[in-house]
């Protein structure tokens, strides 16, 4: 059978970073640090090129690659299939692009672990690319673990920092437990169907009304992904891990790894379970969990003064919005989420890198200790404030566009009130970042008091991540930050991107088309032109959330802490209660993981009981 060049791209995009990681590992013993930097960068750029070529090749449908040459006969095969569409290729692009920026930022950085760091970054990238390109459930689990294992190691790379190793352990334990629950689900599904490919599984389940096994398998399979996506109450690990990981690793974890959990949830539901578990049930379940996640995330985000932890909680809040967008179960909703994810990745990545700059220069991540120390002249200042506004949804930034399209999809699905949620969450998280920026760079408002002993994180002076504290900012670091910010803005101003994502979302949610193209090589029906672009209401809502963010930030800067017994102090006590749940205790996290899984099982299973 003739295989076009396009179908070679997917396995190449997975294999290339692996081979290059091995090359880095072998040469690092005798070669200089620069060579490792260079090889890793070449690999990441090449992976970016291959993923971009895949995006181009999937313009009119999907690229299907059967590994091992096991093409299906009569729709059956023993092989593993890679099925790439615009959204999965786009995700691979995002992962590779963020890796490029992260490697650029770390061009002269993490001296002690060099070589190890580069190889792990490339393996992390390979895991992420394989994870989004595969069309096979067990293969997805394998790449999920690859992604996990390399991320655990990367998170703990600062082995002399007590926070770092503990955060990494919490991350590794909880994510592994989630992954094993996923594997249990794969086992259940395999028992029923005897299949592992998404297309085959979907075909086998098609028309079967959901019974206990299907619900159980769905809940278990998705738990691993939802832990990765940090859905409340399985989100605790994220704040721990993101607050302590090396800065460039944070960019990858916050920008794309966490969002891959939502990707996998959408993929698995839409290709495997869509015809057996009714959409309204799934919609209600994930709207509920998404709202909870967004609420917890924004509350905790605003209550932070440790800058990385603040950004981490803002990621949790945004994941809540992404889950809500998925729950709309419409192509427009998915397109909105996809654009939101890309825009968010750029902004959040830039913010993490900016915070990393502060750490390298001032050896602290605490809003109070950094108060007014940086000064408004530093180029980081306006970049930080711009990123904060973009995070709040300022038109025409990428997050703003994603938010606008998702809000419209929500109205179309009969939930116009969700716009309020989107505006509030982006305003609160944007305000938290804005407040931190105004304090740190411009010294506005009151200096926050010393850290209460109950919240020890960030209390100690940190060691800089570079070998010596930086006296001036290297150009490579500024370029990386600029590229991320620019990428995030480009998403909001180039209509072709939104168009492509809109088309991709149509392919993504077309179960029958997926099945026919993967198993019978039937070309995809052309997708209708997408209307995904700014609307007047979207621009207004974006402006509203930006203004609201400024107001909230302004108030929080200029209002003194309340007296005891005051209404506001009681509110703060409420926040304190939520805050106490984030105990850093691994046993708590396991308990909440199982509890969350049971809640999800109840939300999906109970309405389906006969």
């Amino acid at each position: 059978m003739y295989r076009g060049l396009a179908s070679d791209l997917a396995p190449l995009a997975v294999a290339l970073p692996i081979v290059m990681a091995c090359a880095v590992l072998v040469v690092q013993r005798w070669a200089s640090r620069r060579l490792a930097d260079l090889l890793a960068m070449v690999a990441a750029v090449a992976a970016l090129g291959l993923s971009a070529a895949l995006v181009a090749a999937t313009k009119d449908g999907r690229v299907v690659t059967w590994s091992g040459g096991w093409e299906p006969r009569d729709g059956r095969s023993v092989g593993i299939v890679l099925v790439v569409d615009q959204l999965s290729a786009g995700f691979a692009c995002l992962a590779a692009g963020l890796t490029c920026c992260a490697l650029l930022y770390s061009w002269r950085y993490l001296e002690a672990a060099h070589g190890h760091y580069h190889a792990l970054m490339l393996l992390f990238l390979a895991g992420m690319i394989g994870f989004v390109l595969t069309g096979d459930l067990f293969n997805m689990f394998v790449f999920f673990e690859l992604m996990g294992v390399s991320a655990f190691a990367l998170t703990g790379l600062h082995i002399e920092e007590p926070d770092s190793v503990q955060g990494s352990l919490n991350f590794a334990l909880i994510n592994s437990l989630g992954a094993y629950l996923s594997l249990m689900g794969i086992g259940l599904l395999y028992a029923r169907t005897g299949q592992l490919g998404f297309a085959q599984l979907g075909a086998k389940l098609a028309g079967h009304p959901a019974d206990g096994l299907i619900v159980g398998a769905f809940v278990l399979v998705t738990i691993g992904f939802l832990v990765k996506a940090a859905m409340a109450p399985m989100h605790f690990w994220l704040a721990d891990a993101h607050a302590v990981a090396p800065t460039p690793v944070c960019v990858l974890m916050s920008g794309v790894m966490v969002e891959m959990g939502v990707y996998a949830l959408a993929r698995v539901y839409l290709t495997v379970f869509a015809t057996s578990i009714p959409a309204p049930v799934v919609q209600r379940a994930f709207l509920t969990m998404g709202l909870l996640t967004a609420a917890v995330g924004s509350l905790m985000c605003f209550a932070q003064r440790h800058l990385k932890r603040l950004l981490a909680y803002s990621t949790i809040a945004h994941v809540g919005l992404f889950l809500i967008g998925f729950a709309l179960l419409s192509p427009d909703g998915l397109a909105g989420v996809a654009l939101y994810v890309v825009g968010h990745a750029g902004v959040k990545g830039a913010l993490f890198l900016l915070v990393g700059l502060l750490l390298d220069r001032f050896q602290s991540l605490d809003e109070g200790k950094l108060f007014g120390r940086v000064g408004g002249r530093h180029p980081a200042c306006w970049m930080f404030l711009l990123a904060a506004l973009a995070l709040a949804g300022l038109p025409p930034s990428g997050p703003g566009l994603g938010k606008a399209i998702t809000e419209e999809a929500a109205s179309a699905a009969g939930y116009p009130w969700l716009s309020v949620v989107f505006v509030l969450v982006s305003a609160v998280t944007g305000a938290a970042v804005l407040r931190a920026g105004l304090r740190v760079f411009l010294g506005r408002g009151h200096r926050p008091g010393p850290i209460e002993p109950a919240h020890q994180i960030g209390a100690e002076p940190k060691e800089p991540e570079t070998e010596h504290p930086l006296r001036r900012t290297p150009l490579t670091m500024l370029v990386a930050i600029g590229a991320l910010l620019a990428g995030s803005i480009v998403v909001g101003v180039v209509p072709a991107l939104a168009q492509a994502v809109g088309r991709g979302a149509v392919f993504f949610s077309d179960q029958a088309g997926y099945f026919n193209q993967a198993l019978f090589a039937v070309p995809a029906a052309p997708a209708p032109a997408s209307a995904a672009w700014w609307s007047w209401s979207g621009i207004l809502l974006g402006a509203a959330s930006t203004v609201l963010a400024m107001i909230i930030a302004g108030i929080s800067l200029h209002v003194r802490p309340p007296e005891r017994g005051h209404f506001r102090s009681r509110m703060i006590a409420g926040v304190e209660l939520v805050r106490r749940l984030h105990s850093g205790h691994i046993g708590d996290y396991v308990a909440w993981l199982l509890f969350g899984a049971a809640v999800l099982a109840a939300l999906i299973g109970l309405p389906l009981l006969p």
Partner: protein, 115 residues
């Protein structure tokens, strides 16, 4: 018998999770995690079992038949075992470093990541 094997698999996962929860020592938590994971091997192999089915290995001298137990679940279980070993290794390495920096491996005494 119909479901005993599946029940044992579920029990292993729950008892492993329980072990992490109750642990007073991170080594214990790591070991408990690997117990939880063994539930997945048991489930997979139980799913692929067939009464009177032979092992899916046609050693020299034997004739191939199709009455074998499912080889695919065995391949999955093999991968799973590797994953278990690698995750355990990483967790143990992290435990060693936690002991070095915190001077304890008792989860109740690790008070760094609050709020």
């Amino acid at each position: 018998m119909r479901i005993f094997a599946y029940a044992v698999a579920g029990w292993l996962v729950l008892v492993g999770a329980m072990g992490i929860l109750r642990s007073r020592n991170l080594i214990q938590a790591t070991v408990s995690l690997s117990v939880a994971q063994s539930g997945t091997y048991v489930l997979l192999l139980a799913v692929g079992y067939q009464w009177e089915g032979a092992a899916p290995v046609f050693s020299p001298g034997s004739t191939p038949t199709s009455d074998v137990v499912d080889p695919v679940v065995q391949a999955m279980a093999l991968t799973d075992i590797v994953v278990s070993a690698t995750v355990t290794a990483l967790l143990l390495a992290l435990t060693i470093q936690i002991e070095k920096t915190h001077h304890t491996v008792d989860p109740d005494k690790l008070q760094q990541l609050k709020g």
